[in-house]
Amino acid sequence: MLLERINGFPFLRNEVERLFGDAFENVPSAFRVIGPRAFPAVNLWEDAENAYAEAELPGLTMNDVEVLVLNDELIIRGERKASAPEGAAFHRRERNVGRFNRTVQLPVEVNAEQVAATLKDGVLTVKLAKSPAVLPRKIEVKG
């Protein structure tokens, strides 16, 4: 499970970040350098039946993004193309462009057949049905 708390704040780390993180294993977490943030940042939540992942991908439509699910990993990848007009001189360039590829560990096992993703106003929302194996089963008590 790649979920960990840094300064009390839960973060997800993908496998590549882990390679660098291990070098700081003996450093108290308050001083640990997190390094460049992976793109996109992802928020995860759940309710009784589903897990949800959300990422901000402004400027993209569903054609620009690929969402993949494998066991308990969610992969979000695609490309954000630069949209600079010809001959423009830039005073400021903060919006990142280029390819991105993020793997995120989900809190539960999900049913890859039941995943829905929508992208609206630059927000990607992925709804993943929890695998029946992890759903609580109600046991009838016979009296």
Binding site: P10, N43, G59, A88, R95, G122
Partner: protein
């Protein structure tokens, strides 16, 4: 040419600025200059077009987007890497802009502003009359 008004200098974009009890985020922007206009492109994901306010007054450009929390009532947050809240950013523009002709478009979470420059006043040659 275009300077930013910040409460605290060197505030990284997209970091929360706590104002009273609400959190506000500075959207990432690209500012480009063409011969006839300034082009401001800002990432404001999750704000519906009607919740975005663009204000230009006395050379000050204010961008504001109202965004509400997207967690449903019964959600249990597992991990949070970014916050969701209103966007706000202010710029001072020293270029003379034709305010009447500013256009704003919001698509897929990106706000694009065209700020046309006032055409340069041509130098006028003044004839000197001699009596």
């Amino acid at each position: 040419m275009v300077t930013e008004l910040l409460n605290r200098p060197s505030e990284p974009a997209r970091r929360a600025q706590r104002t009273r009890s609400e959190e506000r985020y500075a959207p990432s922007v690209d500012i480009g200059e063409l011969p006839n206009e300034l082009l401001v492109t800002a990432d404001l994901p999750g704000a519906a077009g009607k919740d975005i306010d663009v204000n230009f007054e006395n050379g000050r450009l204010t961008l504001h987007g109202r965004v509400s929390s997207r967690y449903p009532e019964n959600a249990r947050v597992v991990a949070q890497e970014y916050g969701v809240g209103d966007f706000h950013r202010v710029f001072e523009i020293s270029e003379t802009i034709d305010a009447e002709k500013i256009t704003a478009e919001y698509r897929n979470g990106v706000l694009t502003l065209h700020l046309p420059k006032v055409p340069a006043v041509q130098p006028r040659k003044i004839d000197v009359r001699t009596a």
